[in-house]
């Protein structure tokens, strides 16, 4: 065949999305999914309203990211912009934890907890309540535009939009005082920024959970694409027991099961699949491991009086062993599980240390670069420093600043009014910014290492900072 063929015009280069109408199913995994969905949604919608008393000068919302003032609150943990590495740590921890769980149990995150799954599930549920189950939905969608169709579709979309709007509205609650913002929503008095976020997120929720659905998992999600790197033969997957199921075929009640497989080719597993695949074709990239096909198949197996588990959670190795009629145990402890546990312990330990040792006081001293030092008329040499004091407590505080490493020096704190180095004021939950001068009768010599110590007068908490005293160029 040549390169340029007349029939190129027949090529289908872009495929239309095939609409999927997942059939209703019930069983163990569907119940687990309901529980997971309710818990996830409850957490998402409820958390902004949890109160947490932090005293007078801090918000009383348990989980809050205050972008304007640069503070993040999570119950008893409070993060300043300087501590953003904690956020990095959380992200690393979450990523490794996800890899760890994936290597053990496959894509449980995808199937049960991912927001794409949870919201799609919710939207499909709404769709089913209004329009009926799989066949009814399909018939309605493909049928003519009747009054009934318009009515049902309108109601569905209105409910979808309402859910999407609540989702978007809840998102902004994490960045503002929730009760106040909810009130101002009712008073129709919200800032354009917030409104912009709400409109944007409403649109994306509506689009992603209502229309894009499995397309997100297959074509947009990077995790789905690189998960094969975490899979091995001992990873728990959802699989079809080919050895037992084949040769598949329709089965009449009362006829023998000899010389044939247990799969009766009822396609129940295909009909319930939210991503529209046939699990019997083996492990596929599109499969989000939600387990609904297991429920569907078990139901059928029960009806034809065969043991459950033609489709089941199992490992690839055990599926293969079935062919040789051998059986291996689950092999949870593999090198990769150890690696992941090792990394998790390191990252977790680091974060725990950081959080436990978090000081409510932080001192930074920056030596002047220009000029490095100043010669005074009486022959003394003076160095200037910028001092930043982070008062992370929720009370106004006075601090005492001392130095060591240079003899007989005079310390002067610059600021409004006369400031004693014994009582440097920093307002609650803020950064105090002062200039200090340190002058000493000293001959020009190599620069001295000096240490500043800041002490909280009330609690005796202290922090030190190393700096230098420069006496010559």
């Amino acid at each position: 065949m040549g390169c340029c063929n007349d029939n190129d015009s027949d090529l289908q280069l872009f495929a239309k999305q095939e609409r999927i109408y997942p059939k209703r199913v019930s069983g163990l995994y569907r119940n687990l999914k309901w529980v997971a969905m309710i818990v996830c949604l409850a957490i998402y919608y409820g958390v902004p309203f949890i109160r947490w008393d932090r005293g007078d000068n801090a918000p009383d919302q348990a989980v809050l990211i205050d972008l304007e003032r640069g503070r993040a609150y999570w119950f008893w943990i409070e993060i300043w912009p300087q501590e953003v590495y904690i956020l990095t740590g959380i992200l690393i921890f979450a990523a490794i934890a996800l890899f760890f769980v994936t290597s053990l149990f496959g894509r449980v995150w995808c199937g049960y907890f991912c927001f794409q799954t949870v919201w799609t599930d919710l939207f499909v549920w709404v769709e089913r309540i209004i329009q009926g189950d799989r066949n009814k939905r399909k018939k309605l969608r493909e049928g003519p535009w009747t009054f009934e169709k318009i009515r049902k579709l309108t109601i569905t979309h209105i409910i979808w939009l309402a859910i999407a709007w609540c989702t978007a509205g809840s998102f902004v609650l994490y960045f503002n005082d929730a009760p106040t913002l909810v009130k101002s929503f009712f008073m129709l008095d919200v800032s354009p920024t917030i409104l912009g976020f709400v409109v944007g997120l409403t649109a994306s929720t509506y689009l992603m959970a209502g229309f894009a659905r499995e397309q997100v998992c297959t074509f947009m999600c990077p995790y789905a694409r690189f998960q094969s790197a975490m899979f091995d033969k001992d990873t728990l997957i959802i699989g079809y027991d080919e050895n037992r199921g084949e040769k598949r075929g329709k089965h009449k009640k009362g006829t023998t099961w000899d010389n044939r497989g247990h799969c009766i080719d009822c396609t129940a597993c295909v009909q319930v699949c939210p991503v529209g695949i046939d699990i019997r074709n083996g492990l596929q990239m599109e499969c989000i491991a939600c387990g609904l096909c297991i429920d569907a198949c078990n139901d059928i197996m029960k009806k034809v009086d065969l043991p459950k588990g033609l489709i089941r959670y199992d490992t690839e190795r055990r599926f293969e062993d079935k062919v040789q009629n051998t059986e291996t145990k689950f092999n949870i402890f593999r090198p990769r599980t150890y690696y992941y546990i090792f990394i998790l312990v390191i990252v977790g330990g680091f974060m725990l240390t950081v959080l436990l040792n978090r000081s409510a006081l932080d001192l930074t001293v920056l030596h002047d670069r220009n000029p490095l030092f100043v010669k005074l008329s009486n022959g003394e040499i003076r160095n200037g420093y910028e001092v930043k004091i982070l008062n992370k407590t929720h009370e106004d505080n006075f601090y005492k600043l001392t130095y060591s490493g240079v003899e007989n020096a005079t310390l002067v704190v610059k600021g409004a009014g006369d400031i004693s180095e014994d009582a440097i004021f920093v307002a609650a939950d803020s950064v105090g910014h002062y200039r200090i001068n340190l002058s000493a009768p000293i001959k020009p010599q190599n620069s001295l290492d000096i240490t500043f110590t800041l002490t909280d007068k009330a609690t005796n908490n202290s922090d030190t900072y190393e700096s230098v005293f420069v006496t010559k160029r």
Partner: protein, 293 residues
Amino acid sequence: MVDKETKKQDVDKLSGVETTGHEWDGLQELNNPLPRWWLIVWVVTIVWSLWYFVVYPAWPTLSGATKGTYGYTQAKELAESQNEILKRQSNYLEKFETASFDDIMNDRELYEFAMAGGHAAFKENCATCHGTGAEGGKGYPNLNDDDWLWGGKVTDIHQTLNDGIRVQGSYDTRLSEMPAFGRDKLLSKTQINDVVEYVMILGGETDLTSLPGHLVYQENCASCHGQNGKGLQELGAPNLADDIWLYGGTRKDIYETVVNSREGMMPAWVNRLSQNTIRQISLYVHQLGGGEE
């Protein structure tokens, strides 16, 4: 591709995927079509970019670029943000304008406002001569130290900033007139050498009355620089007894000063900057370290 006779799609045996019919050296191209919405998103971005081309300045022309229907320019955006800043400043400026230097130095808010404004204005206007850190240089005073030619109180600094030093044609400016003792032949070479020697050790503990330069100094220099060389700020006469030398403290530098005199100058800012800015700079310079009470 579709075979014309059988009307059947060519399928790759290994992967079970349709082929496009394209083949190079035995390699067949498989056809895994992209989702159609992908194409739609792509088209939407093109339409979006077209809209962008129309409403924002985009196409280069010989005389610049198309203006765009929104009339957006970066200059306008800058002006807007500047207005916003000015509006924010106005809260403080009202108070700042009427407050005395003492009041400002004791009010945290106004003080910080003055420091921020003074720091920025200093870098723009003063750093050219005095340096960004105000460390000065030969002929340009270091504003960080405690040696002041014309006084280091904040009001003194304010006056120097307003009216400058040795400004031509100004009635308010201050100036000092040190004679050029060598050039104008007021002193002989020996006398100059003697007085340079004297000035160099001035300010120490030793008794200098027996030095040959003592008489020359007392007769020619003491009227302005004072009997023991402490200087006089009212006349702009520098302190010769300390360690700080504006034009250098070596024998050669001082000799040069006595022979030719120095006539440093500083511009008057009263007509160049707003009074608020000048006051901010005064306070900023005062807190650099050497400000007098």
